[in-house]
Symmetry: C2
Subunit: 203 residues, 2 copies
């Protein structure tokens, strides 16, 4: 694509570096900004830079935060006997949106993936071990592994189980099965098979 | 969605103001920027602001430009007996990409749409009339209307035909028909019907 303006071309190229945004979409977004007030572009640019330069990571759970401790870790009403281990902040948000979980989190910052060259040392696993070993954290009773049911997720879960065994805690994983509202007919065999194996007795 | 950080929330809200980007996608983009170097976010912000504040519109055809005249209008090798009227810069880029057109353009900056409150006076129609009336522009022989085949596009085309009639120029529109590679079976009736009415004789 040949652009009529170098300024447009540079902006399009930068926007197209974002994941899932191609040149055509980038151009649409850039032209949209041109139709809006200059102020909107300025605000967009300022908030992005402020976010990138000022945002912190919670020193305890590595969740995104404005302060040294995130709002979840700093909240005394959260159940600190539970730690839910997730891949990234998006998973924290997804679980928080369910309003079903009142414990704490630990954000790994990724998942073990030999293909992408991500090993256990690249993730916040050591800090989880330290967190469990710390004197003031003796109240933790259960670790919930909420990782994606992919090969990488299962590998990470397996590694964590081995690593956390010495603490003699209850270690669980989120339930796998047929999604609520899902049709049996359209479920894949692996999920359906697993959902029969891990069937839940009526109480 | 409740965000763990006000900085993240503000950035997500600003990104989600862009067309076709919802909160979830905005969050994905923001988290992506967090994983990349600070420099990338800074460059993105800088190029967007530079684009928004410095880009000009061609004084002749209203296309986006770095200078007073766009590269197309300033190019002496373009055929200045042809002016192709389009809705916006994206259409110029699309037509340029075909490499089939060597004339000039006139960018209306929109399309007549009573629903969205866009009337003829909001578009660069008067400047087209002035362009055709100017002494140094007597060489224009044909106006090609390349507008979308929607109700708004047809309305705009009809208005332009009426407005340009006094100049006694050839006025044409781009061909409507079955797209190359398109299957007759899946073409809508209106397009198929029109393609029969405006059939092209083999020479």
């Amino acid at each position: 694509m040949e652009f009529p303006s170098r300024l447009i071309e540079e902006a399009v190229n930068e926007v197209a570096k974002l994941p899932g945004i191609g040149k055509k979409t980038a151009l649409r977004l850039v032209l949209h900004l041109l139709k809006r007030d200059e102020e909107q572009t300025q605000t967009l640019a300022d908030t992005l830079v402020a976010m990138r330069t000022k945002v912190k990571y919670c020193q305890k759970c590595h969740n995104l935060s404005d302060n040294d401790l995130c709002t979840i870790c700093a909240n005394p009403r959260r159940d600190n006997s539970l730690i839910c281990v997730v891949e990234d902040t998006r998973d924290v948000l997804a679980i928080e949106n369910t309003a079903q979980y009142k414990g704490l989190y630990h954000v790994l910052g990724g998942i073990i993936s030999p293909v992408e060259g991500v090993g256990p040392s690249d993730l916040h696993i050591e800090s989880l071990v330290q967190r469990l070993g710390a004197v003031d954290n003796e109240q933790v009773k259960e670790i919930i592994l909420a990782l994606s049911p992919t090969m990488e997720g299962d590998t990470t879960a397996f590694y964590l189980q081995k690593k956390l065994r010495p603490f003699k805690l209850k270690i669980s994983t989120i339930a796998r099965g047929i999604p609520i509202g899902g049709d049996l007919e359209y479920a894949d065999e692996v999920t359906l098979g697993r959902s029969i194996l891990s069937r839940i007795a009526y109480e």
